[in-house]
Assembly symmetry: D2
Homo-oligomer: 210 residues x 4
């Protein structure tokens, strides 16, 4: 069953899919979803053509008559704040929180800790270009860049490299570079929290007197 096996090999590379589940996907397409196989194939082959990368923020969006993605072309989004994220899914999570009114830039990945060529993993050149342009915009110039990376060693490392790369422009154009606040996340119990989290929660404590 050669092409079934080749297909299972592709499914095995899907995120979170093991060899057994990959085979079950093929079997699912042969049986339950047999009638939908042609439609699924059409959707997959059409996918690259129907989506575009936004030339500003680099996220994927459903191609339409517009050049920019819905966020980048929304006049109500603040143009002086930029959140730099690693992946498209991070934008989804931040948008769902309803706590951010600025714009985004998608790096397209994270920078592994022992890697000397960050530009192989993230869109560094495009970022510098975009930030330079935004910083020198005559009206509504960039005031703050938020490095919205995960609270993991790789996320921290990525934020460090990006900060170093943007430092010269930030110095010249006088915008802030910030990172996401650290402390207790929802559900954290002190008893099970690591010392870094407790230390951050104490350092970043909030005056509740008023």
């Amino acid at each position: 069953m050669k092409s079934a096996e080749e297909l299972a090999e592709h499914f095995k590379k899907f995120p979170g899919v093991g060899p057994r589940q990959a085979k079950r996907f093929v079997y699912h397409l042969l049986t339950v979803a047999r009638g939908n196989a042609a439609r699924i194939a059409d959707l997959i082959s059409a996918l690259p053509g129907e989506t575009a990368v936004c030339p500003e923020c680099k996220r994927f969006f459903a191609k339409d008559k517009n050049n920019l993605c819905p966020i980048c072309r929304d006049p109500r989004r603040e143009r002086n704040t930029l959140a730099i994220v690693c992946r498209d899914v991070d934008i989804e999570a931040i948008e769902k929180s309803g706590s951010f009114r600025g714009r985004y830039f998608v790096l397209g990945g994270t920078i592994p800790i022992l890697d000397n060529a960050p530009e192989r993993h993230v869109r560094l050149k495009e970022l510098i270009l975009m930030v330079s342009k935004a910083a020198s915009s005559p009206d509504n110039a960039l005031a703050e860049i938020i490095l919205a990376t995960n609270a993991s060693p790789e996320g921290d490392h990525t934020a460090d490299i990006i900060k170093a790369s943007l430092a010269p422009i930030a110095a010249k154009s006088k915008f802030r570079i910030s990172t996401l606040g650290r402390g207790l996340s929802t559900g954290t119990e002190l008893e099970y929290a690591d010392s870094d989290t407790i230390g951050n929660a104490l350092r970043n404590r909030k005056d509740n007197s008023r």
Copy 2:
């Protein structure tokens, strides 16, 4: 992103896939697997045409110049023993054990416990036809049918219904109907075993004296 959403809806129906993972599959096709999307689509659309249902055992196999699947056309397989399984994957598991030399029949599903129309869930008519033919074969007639179902309430129920349906032919043609042995499976500890399993292990105990 309409077609991406439709595709995610299809992925959500894949076995063991939740809504978040379905979205990640679409994103995976847009990014990491972008270059393979066309190939994956081709494989999926070709799948139904490149596979056939074996007219004897009803399992799927890679279509070739032969009419029957590799097991059904293998002259070394015993023709007097038939294992009835619910799904193709059960054949794979049994073949891997290397403990069965007979042939198979795939029911295509299980029979829900409170269902009065078993023929809507399994290939009952085709089974009776196939068994009748095998039982009346002049040479090498059917000697035993093994109901190889899961040790679950639904598996037991399916075996019961199939047994009842085959009983008249079995009586006439004098073949045995057996079910898989029950007892301790590899790794079972008495302390955590249910009473049914312990009861079966005691009833089906094996004389090791000789």
Copy 3:
């Protein structure tokens, strides 16, 4: 907090208890259960004196005016069948199944696979003594010994060593030695079962024709 720490060290050796939980036990005794601490201490110190090892089957039971445990002194238990188990909890599991009417012998442990001195792990001498006596009993002599060990490599190994040790008496006194039946345990699905279990389930299949 020296004695609290010593107590936590003891709790850490309790089955399934980690260092953090051991500390919480101490804290629980200091707070919530403070009023019960004296009673718990009394119960623990009384425990060895209030329980006895049955001189026949070697299991623990609440000491009373009787010498033998409730099972060994029950005249309704069959005296010709003996189940050999590794631990007291195995008796509980088998009794709960209601499928055994004979008597027991508790080995007190399992024999590690690469160990050459089985008598350091199980009551081998006591077993041979007990079996010799039972085998030569004038009335109702031993007809069968069931080696009721777990379906694990160590359980199998223990059964093998015990069988070899009892083989001479069995040959002379003509009782059977059996092991628990292997096959599908409750809930086993063929798709996820290992090849040994499937092989056993096929070999030990049950004729359901009648």
Copy 4:
């Protein structure tokens, strides 16, 4: 086996222990730990007498010739900062982080959300007394109280009630009341974070420019 059963009932109330594990504890004391049972009983019965509640912070400590616990009598601890925690284990976690140099007060519990009598769950009266005394201390008066509760609904509720109870003294004595910082805890990935956590991480973001 009556006293064994009574003991198992006590073990069942130990934190994180189920009925089966409770029985195994008794069996462990009867077998493996039989030789230590007397010592364990001694330690448990001595426990209440060998520990004392610190009259200042209310935590348990190993009774010695001192009246106060090691933290409360340590002259190097800052006397102007007080962390209010729910349980002794929270002090352990904070001390391990090495990020706090002040003193503690143990409430002894949390206040359930729909409860109108907080004093039944926490040491409210003792807290108010202790804070009043600390606030009016002539030298080194209280400057800040940190409500170090878990990031859970019950932890938040407890912090709210405590804050309201202390507000009058705080207003008069001019000390701050703060809560632990919220944001990403170690290991948090944006993709899986809840909207509250992301919102807090954005609001509490940190200027990294300098």
